[in-house]
Each structure stands twice: as C-alpha cells, then as structure tokens.
C-alpha cells in the first residue's frame, strides 16, 4: 500500500471536512436574522484565506526546521506539543461523532439503541482510520464527488420554492452581528491546521491547490446559506438542523424525499471527517511513541465514545461539546494565534541568520 496521497485527494478530504461543519451548523444566535448569516458567509472567506496563508507559510521544510530548532530542543517539549495536538484532534473527533449520532438519533432513527449505533460507528471509524491515509483519501474523493452532486441536485430541486421576500438587506441591523458570526465561520475552519498535519503524507506540491479548495468551499457555503434563507426564511434559524430542513423542502417531480439524500451524504461525510481526525491523532501518537499507538488510538476512541453516549442521553452535554463560544475559544488560537507566533519566530530567526 502506498503511504502518500495526491493533493487532489488531500483537498477532497479537507472539502468534506469543511462541508460537514457547514451542514451541521446550528444557529448560534436567535436574535440574528437571515441576512446577518448571509453577510457573515460573505465576510468570512477573506478572513479564512488570511488565516490559512499563515499555516501554508509554515509548510516549507526550512521553516519547520527552524521551528523544531527553537521549540523542540528538549524532546519532552516536542512530545508535549504533539500530545496537545492529539487532544485537540480528539475533541474535533468527539464533536463529529456526537454530532453524527445525535443527528442519526433525532432525525433518522429515534428508536435505535444508542450504544449499538455508537459502537458500530466507532468500530468502523477505527478500522478506516487505521487502514492508512490512502484508504481515507479514496473514500474522501468519492465522498466529495457524492456530496457535491447531491448538494447540486438538492439546490436545483429547491429553486421552485425560493421566495425572494425572505431576504433582507445586508447589514440591516448593523455590522456587529455579521462580523461576530463570521468569526464563528472562521473558528469552524480548522482545515489549514489539518493540512499542516497531513503535509508529509501528500506526494506533490501541497500548496498548489489551496486557493482552488478555498474558492470551492466558500462558493458552496455562500450558495447553501443563500438557498437556506431563500427557501426557508428565518424559520431556518429555529431549526436544530437547518440544512436538513432545507432538504426536506426541496422536491423535483416525483423525487420528494431529498432529506434522505442529504442524510446519506451527511453520514458519509461525518464518517470520513471522524476517520481523518483519528488517523492524524494516530500519526502524532506514533511520533510520541508512548507504547502502541493503536492501543492509545482505541483508548481515545473509547473516550470519544463515552462523551458521545453522554451527549446522546443529555442534550446539555451535546450543547457543551458543540458550544460555538467554547469552540471559538479553542479553535481561534489554533487557527490564528499559533501560526502568528510561529511565523514571527521564524522571521526573527531568519533575520538573525542573515
């Protein structure tokens, strides 16, 4: 089995990962109106691009060497940083696993036994995650194509239900809410960090496709946000899973259950994201070499399993794990602060060397 994947496969995985965050979006602010979310979807892409460039900047071998020299003189320091990265990936994995199971049990099969559903899902995720990056990437490419085609079909079949009256002028209630909401979009985009962790597993110039990925992801996101409010209006903001509600609305001729199509894509995409996070955590654990990484990965999956089980039995736990403010507090340092510090350190060292 080859151990490396192509940039197209890598960006397919990241595309799936970001689209899952969009589809599982729960409106964080009930006071905001649809136009605030549309404005936020328009403000966020430049912010994400600016933040991502900093991670991309760190991906050259020379710069990573400088970082290793400065921060990892002591092997314990390196291990600690890698362990923090593992914990962070575990959190992302837990959020996704709990989101997937809450969605499955609240929308699809209310009566399914939570323990069985979680056990089987977690077992399948571990199996795919430990099969290597190539297996995940193949699934990711297939998942991306399936997701894009399904979303295109859903949007197309929704066009007859659009009501332009649902839209309000952008920034009607001022700019503060759209700006705050755009920060939640930014905090939900951890993909540049995932790309940084994946960089050694990609067999070509990894930076080449980034702008295409960025353009594709945010075009889809802006289009979906617009369709959501054109179709459902502000009712969308009161739904637990607004995009699922949007799919329920769409129909084309005799095809009337588009929500089933979206659910299929949703389950597949969430599954791929879980597997990717677990694989990257396993990679980092191998570098720390604390005993067998497989055992540790299974232990971490068990922790995520327990948290997800609690979330399935208590919506308060789910709300805590997926709280947008907590997510922003944890994600923004990873997306913004860490790369800023690392870039500054690299720059200072490069100047000194000169």
């Amino acid at each position: 089995m080859k151990n490396k994947i192509s940039p197209v496969q890598a960006y397919s995985l990241l595309f799936i990962s970001r689209i899952v965050s969009t589809l599982t979006f729960v409106p964080p602010d009930l006071d905001a109106v649809g136009s605030d979310y549309v404005a936020a979807a328009l403000i966020a892409p430049p912010l994400v691009l600016a933040a991502s460039i900093m991670w991309l900047h760190l991906m050259s071998d020379g710069r990573t060497l400088i970082i290793r020299k400065v921060f990892f003189r002591n092997p314990k320091a390196e291990k600690s940083v890698r362990f923090i990265a593992v914990l962070y990936l575990l959190l992302v994995f837990t959020r996704n696993l709990s989101g997937l199971c809450v969605f499955a049990m609240s929308v699809l099969f209310e009566k399914v036994n939570a323990v069985v559903l979680l056990t089987v899902t977690a077992a399948a995720v571990i199996f795919v995650a430990l099969s290597g990056i190539e297996a995940i990437a193949r699934l990711g490419f297939f998942g991306s194509v399936a997701t894009l085609l399904s979303l295109a079909f859903i949007v197309f079949s929704l066009t007859g239900r659009f009501d332009a009256n649902n839209l309000q002028p952008l920034f009607l209630n001022g700019a503060s809410k759209p700006v705050l909401l755009s920060l939640t979009v930014l905090s939900g985009t951890i993909e540049p960090f995932l790309l940084f962790l994946m960089r050694r597993e990609v067999n070509d110039k990894i930076k080449k496709g980034f702008v295409w990925w960025w353009a594709a992801v945010f075009s889809v996101q802006i289009l979906l946000t617009l369709c959501l409010y054109l179709g459902l209006g502000n009712v969308a903001l009161r739904m637990f899973f607004p995009y699922h509600a949007m799919a329920e609305l769409s129909r084309l001729s005799i095809a009337r259950r588009m929500d089933s199509l979206l659910s299929t894509v949703w389950v597949l995409a969430s599954f791929i994201k879980c597997a990717l996070c677990l694989h990257l955590a396993d990679n980092e654990l191998k570098k720390i070499s604390l005993g067998s990484s497989r055992v540790l990965t299974s232990v971490f999956t068990a922790v995520a399993f327990l948290i997800s089980l609690l979330a399935l039995n208590n919506i308060g736990v789910y709300r805590f794990v997926n709280n947008p403010n907590i997510n922003a507090a944890l994600n923004l340092p990873v997306i913004l602060i860490v790369p800023i510090i690392l870039n500054a350190v690299v720059k200072i060292n490069l100047k000194r060397e000169k």
């Binding site: 009566k111 899902t121 077992a123 009256n165 309000q168 209630n173 209006g233 389950v267």
Partner: protein
C-alpha cells in the same frame, strides 16, 4: 480475520441504518397513519384536536365482512396541547400515530381568531411531523372538515390536499412553515384558504369559499374568492388557473401561463407610494358568444385590453380589501417600505392605509387557440 470484521461491521450497519430492531411500534399494523389534523378551541383554554386516520384495519377485515369498512377513521380528543392529544389518542387506540404522512392542518375559525401560534411548535419540533403540511381555516369548526363524509372510498384529507394544491387561481396555497415564517418574522402577514362544507342528499363536499387574512397569528378578516385571486397574483403564488372575462358580447376564458409580479415603494418620505407591476402571459382557452365562437370574435387587441383591465381591477380590489378593510399586511407592503427606507422598525398598518398605489399590468397573449382566432381585426373566415 480482517474480512470477517468488515463483514460483521457492514452487516450491523446495514441492519442499523434500515432501522431493523425489536420495536413493535414501527410495525405498520401497530400504527395509524394520520392524514389530517383539525384544531378547535375548547373550553377552559384547551384544544379539541380532530384526527383523520387511514383505517389500517380495513384491508384485513373487509374481506371477511359483507360491507367493507370506511377508508378513514376520525376521532376528536380534548387536550391542552397537540402532542398530548396525539399521546391520548395513541393510548386509547392502542396504536401509535404516524404523523409524517399528514396532508392537511385545519384550524377552526374561532380558534384562528384567538391565535394559532400556540400550537405550531409541535409541527416544527417533532421531527416526525412535516412542516410543509398545507394549512387552511374552516368556516365553522375544523372537526367538521376532518369528519366530512365525501362518499365511499374517498379520503377527505387527500381530496382537500388536491384541492388546495391544484394551482387554482382563487385558492391561496400556504404551507405551515410559510405561516410560521410570517408569525415569527413579523415582517408580513399571511393568508390561509377558507374551507366550508356543503351537503346534498348523497354526500358532503368541501369547498374553498375565500381567504382568511391574518395579522400576526390571529385571523382578522375574510375576503372573497375574487379577492384571493389578486393576492395570489401579487404573492407570486399564481402558477396556473383559468379566469373568465366579459369582452364585448363574449365571455373569454384565459389560462394563466406565467405571471411576474413586482412591488416597489417609490416614495418613502411622507405618504408612501407603491408601484404594483404585473407581467402576465395568457393563453385563450375559450371564447363563448351567442352564436358560437366562429361569429364576431373580439380582436386580439380587445382581448388583451380586457384581460389587462380584469387583472388590474383584481389587484386593486385585493389591495383595497386587504389593507384598507382588514388591516392585514398580507402583501408585505410594510416590509417593502422598510427595506426601501432602510428602516428597522415595522411601520404600522394604519399608516399604510394612507398609501398611494399605481398599478401597471402588461399582458402578452401567447396562444389564441386553433379555432376562429381574430388575429387581423376581421373575422378569420373572411380572409379566405
């Protein structure tokens, strides 16, 4: 070993994702399929919730009996909420109600006048309920529509759904989420079709006799079917339908092919002025004159002008009745005013009463039909 694990996990997932498990309530024989729900006001602030259910016993029992059972069973339950009513009826019948096949939601007139907002949450929060269900108001009580006896083997809710969604020019088709959007948004009001029951010797019949206008979640007035036509035109709900217009000595039937309405507020300082523009493409389906269509057919210009006048007067009538008489903002004029004036606060409907309107209708006749079309000003047969 790996292949065995994959096979086991895949099989388990296949069973799980098909929802195959030991839960008797999922068996169709243990469920009643809800086709229609009616909600009326009861004493002490409670609700009388009426259910029209598909008779799932009929298929198995009818063959053993001389006379087949009715296709539906109807029940009324007194409860304080819709979900309690569902639960009470499920317990009484010993079968769980399957709500996601519900086709219509009917509100009794007096319940609608008190406000329908308190019962809508169940239909959005419960994932089994569909928020795209069609809504209507009954002229008297909702239970009357739910319990209607339309004849043998006719499911009233199916009939009602077909009638409401047929694209009739005079029926304002509104789905639940659209009403909810208006109530929670507060930017515009909504309208629901008014249903009434007529009886003859053999059976009963459900008719759409007008439109009920809402202000917030309360029904504030009723307008006639002809007024509903103008509302449909302006709300872009008009997709098809036939209108009859008197032209010279003939009655002409036009089929609406497509309409494109536009409402613009042109003056936001002082007295608001709204320009109501409509572009429509029509097809002539029938020209009935005293001696038959071949005689004295009106010219194409006359047909076009008559249709323009008819649509213009329909719009004028709708605007006058909705805003001036009923004080409901079904057409969303306040929202259009606010968007144009970039005002955050919703203006009061009383203020809207003093607005000016300018109605412009442009008609193009896309097809005059095959028989005796007077395209050149004279009679067709004289050209030969």
């Amino acid at each position: 070993m790996k292949k065995i694990i994959i096979a086991v996990v895949t099989s388990l997932l296949a069973f799980l994702l098909c929802s195959c498990e030991k839960t008797d309530s999922y068996e169709i024989k243990n469920r009643y399929i809800v086709q229609g729900i009616g909600i009326d006001k009861a004493q002490d602030g409670g609700l009388t919730v009426s259910f029209q259910l598909i008779n799932t016993d009929a298929a198995s029992v009818s063959s053993a009996q001389d006379s087949p059972e009715k296709p539906t069973k109807c029940y009324s339950v007194y409860a304080s909420s819709v979900s309690q009513a569902v639960s009470l009826l499920s317990n009484d019948l010993g079968k769980r109600l399957l709500l996601n096949q519900n086709r219509i939601l009917i509100f009794g007139r007096s319940f609608a006048q008190d406000g329908i907002g308190r019962v809508l949450d169940e239909f959005l929060r419960n994932t089994e309920s569909r928020f795209t269900v069609l809504c209507a108001v009954s002229d008297k009580t909702a239970s009357e529509i739910i319990f209607a006896q339309l004849g043998k083997n006719i499911v009233p809710a199916v009939q009602c759904e077909k009638m409401l969604s047929a694209g009739d020019a005079y029926t304002v088709e509104t789905e639940l989420y659209q009403a909810v959007n208006c109530i929670y948004d507060g930017r515009r009001d909504f309208a629901l079709p008014l249903l009434s029951l007529s009886r003859n010797e053999e059976a009963e019949k459900i008719n759409c006799t007008g439109t009920v206008l809402f202000y917030g979640d309360r029904a504030v007035g009723t307008v006639s079917r002809s007024t509903s036509f103008g509302i449909n035109l302006l709300l872009k709900k008009q997709s098809s339908g036939i209108i009859d217009v008197k032209v010279e000595n003939s009655t002409v039937s036009y089929e609406i092919v497509i309409t494109k309405p536009e409402i613009i507020c042109v003056n936001t300082e002082g007295k608001p002025t709204f320009e109501l523009r409509l572009k429509a493409r029509l097809k002539i389906t029938e020209i009935s004159t005293e001696k038959g269509a071949a005689d004295n057919v009106p010219s194409l210009e006359a047909l076009s002008a008559a249709a323009e006048d008819a649509l213009k007067s329909s719009i004028e009538k709708s605007v006058t009745e909705c805003i001036i008489k009923v004080s409901g903002d079904t057409l969303g004029l306040a929202d259009i005013y606010n968007k144009t004036a970039k005002s955050k606060a919703r203006i009061d409907n009383k203020y809207l009463k003093s607005f000016d309107t300018k109605i412009t209708v442009k008609i193009s006749i896309v097809n005059s039909g095959d028989f005796s079309a007077n395209l050149y000003g004279g009679r067709k047969y004289e050209q030969f």
